[in-house]
């Protein structure tokens, strides 16, 4: 399959007689149409990056990165430090919760692929990636927020639930690539199953697993809707583990994007630049790690 995926060479058609001329002309026209489809998708990407940088850079400065809201939000100045702290805090907690469990589930799927539970988990993990993130927020609200209130932990939990199926499925794809010879070699040396997993399978798959995990984190850091329902809001840096609300970059951008104050919109642009830099950097590093390794993607 790998050697054959490129476009095939077509022997030149005779362009005289019959309808050959019309058909080649149509072929060429459709080539242009298909290229236009790709362009149509790339234009927004360029426009997004260009507009965010153009609007975000003038508003971005040291004060924005290192301070929280001013007393008056009508005034320029102040920044999203509390959002950055909340994003990293909740993103970190969510990663701690979802990555070990996700990888453990993925190990189960690859080590016991024919069990009925494995089939179910694989299918429903796929289905779970399609659950609207706002619904995940509502779920955590009904399950926990009603009992223990808004805060960092419940926000992180909603992000972890969004990450979990992504980690499971991407890790499974990577673990499947670890050659059986390596595992059998380990067993031949007398290693137990768990020793083989920890000393052979996981180290071999590590770069690919890191790629999958980082992409999942990048996805979680950009989530807004579940946090509206679980983290709620905060006006200053919050370090509490739970209770009292927390904020995040996407939440602050969402609030100020539609605000009436010019200064607030400026901060929203700078916040978007900060968030995009964070997310795209994670995505690009993740893909680079994955592309460099033999058992990555």
């Amino acid at each position: 399959m790998t050697a054959m995926t490129g476009p095939l060479q077509r022997p030149p058609l005779k362009t005289s007689g019959g309808n050959a001329r019309r058909r080649t002309a149509f072929n060429r026209a459709m080539g242009v149409v298909l290229s236009a489809a790709v362009l149509l998708a790339l234009i927004p990407l360029v426009l997004i990056i260009a507009v965010i940088v153009a609007n975000g850079l003038p508003a971005m400065n040291w004060e924005f990165l290192t301070s929280t809201f001013n007393f008056s939000r009508r005034e320029p100045g102040g920044g999203y430090l509390h959002g950055l702290v909340g994003t990293l805090y909740m993103g970190g907690l969510a990663a701690l919760m979802s990555i070990p469990i996700g990888i453990a589930a993925a190990i189960y799927l690859t080590e016991y692929p024919r069990q009925r539970l494995a089939g179910l988990v694989r299918f429903f993990a796929d289905v779970m990636t399609g659950v609207p993130s706002v619904f995940v927020g509502l779920f955590v609200y009904t399950l926990l927020v009603r009992q223990i209130g808004f805060g960092t932990f419940v926000g992180a939990l909603s992000l972890a639930i969004i990450m979990l199926p992504i980690v499971v499925r991407s890790s499974e794809e990577i673990l499947k690539l670890v050659p059986g010879e390596l595992k059998r070699g380990s067993y031949a040396l007398g290693a137990r199953h768990w020793q083989t997993i920890f000393r052979v399978t996981l180290p071999t798959a590590a770069p690919g697993l890191i790629t999958g995990a980082m992409l999942a984190v990048a996805r979680a850091l950009g989530e807004t809707a579940p946090l509206v329902l679980t983290a709620l809001a905060a006006q200053s840096v919050v370090l509490d583990f739970q209770g009292g609300g927390q904020t995040a970059l996407p939440l602050l951008i969402f609030r100020e994007a539609r605000g009436a104050f010019e200064a607030g919109q400026q901060r929203a642009w700078a916040g978007a630049l900060e968030l995009m830099a964070l997310v795209l950097l994670l995505t690009i590093i993740a893909r680079t790690i994955g592309a460099r390794s033999r058992y990555g993607r």
């Binding site: 298909l34 990407l45 507009v51 453990a104 299918f123 059986g180 992409l215 329902l229």
Partner: protein, 327 residues
């Protein structure tokens, strides 16, 4: 390259390590089961909280009525909660998104699998995937303050001027509307649809392409009469997955659709979607109002889960079939 399951079940148990493997296996099973447990809890917990709303309104009234008038009770449902306006907004924006995104995604996938040189295809794939990495709040901000007013409004006004006699395109074009939300949604789901369609296209055996070329077909003819027809179920599955994503997308729509409590038939008028309603009114809601929002969420979840399960079943069947055919 199917992985051969390797186990040590038959190894004799040695002193001191006997517990290791069974314990390890149960940890793995527990982690897997947790995925199913979370999904089950999701359905249970939200449904229980929203059942009073469905009961007090009546399911049919809840889905089709157009009045949303929250009450102030802490213990019972006193207001009127009908989701028709929001369901309409969700469906209209998602439909616009699918109509725009599907042809573009299929075009991208054809270009990447059958037209572009390998190296170009790899770079372009990477760039299209970056589009999926952009957070939805960034799409919303960009759409609200740049894309909609600067790029989309002039052509929308031209269409409205020319075809305004059709109720669907009736003017005036206001600055928050279904169309703007739908276009931004389309951009967001293009990477999702095109990634799956691309996989489906590259699963078409090359021998069939060769056969068509041997009969003198042009590239386009090969795509049209071999690649696309053979992939039709996969394209349908990918479209449904894109639709599922569009239905549930929240923040970008919330910023662009404008809000409102009536059904407008023109795509250039404002409205409200189910997901947007939830995030827009959650913080000001009364206790029973929150239960009503949860009922909205359950409705949205039911729609997306049905679409997702169906789409996954279709796509999975393709995967199995093509997997055998290619190997």
């Amino acid at each position: 390259m199917s992985a051969i399951p390797v186990t040590t079940e038959r190894l004799p148990r040695r002193h001191g390590r006997a517990l290791g493997d069974p314990l390890f296996r149960w940890i793995l099973i527990g982690s897997s089961a947790l995925v199913l447990l979370i999904l089950a809890l999701m359905i249970g917990s939200t449904t229980i909280d929203s059942i009073p709303v469905f009961f007090s309104q009546g399911l049919w009234q809840f889905l089709t009525g157009t009045t949303w008038d929250p009450g102030f009770s802490r213990t019972e449902i006193t207001g009127t909660y009908q989701a028709g306006v929001f369901l309409y907004g969700t469906l209209v924006t998602s439909l616009i998104a699918i109509v725009l995104a599907l042809p573009v995604s299929v075009g991208i996938a054809l270009f990447l699998t059958d037209l572009a040189p390998m190296r170009v295809a790899r770079t372009l794939t990477y760039l299209v995937e970056l589009l999926a990495a952009v957070p939805s709040v960034v799409y919303g901000l960009w759409g609200l303050h740049f894309f909609a007013p600067v790029i989309l409004k002039p052509p929308a006004e031209a269409v409205s001027d020319a075809f305004g006699w059709i109720p669907l395109f009736a003017g005036p074009v206001i600055s928050f509307n279904f169309f703007f939300a739908g276009v931004v949604l389309a951009i967001m789901i293009i990477p999702i649809i095109s990634a799956i369609v691309r996989e489906v296209f590259s699963a078409v055996p090359d021998s069939e392409r060769f056969a068509a070329y041997a009969m003198g077909a042009t590239r386009w003819e090969v795509m049209r009469s071999v690649v696309v027809p053979r992939s039709r179920p996969g394209i349908i599955g990918a479209t449904m997955l894109g639709l599922g994503r569009a239905l549930g997308e929240t923040i970008a729509v919330a910023l662009l659709i404008g809000g409102g409590t009536t059904i407008n038939f023109s795509i250039f008028q404002q409205g409200e979607s189910v997901a947007a309603k939830i995030v827009n009114t959650f913080q000001e809601s009364t206790p029973e109002g929150i239960d009503a929002l949860i009922a909205l969420g359950v409705t949205l979840f039911a729609m997306t889960i049905v679409i997702n399960v169906a789409a996954r079943l279709i796509v999975r069947r393709i995967g199995d079939v093509s997997g055998d055919a290619v190997a």
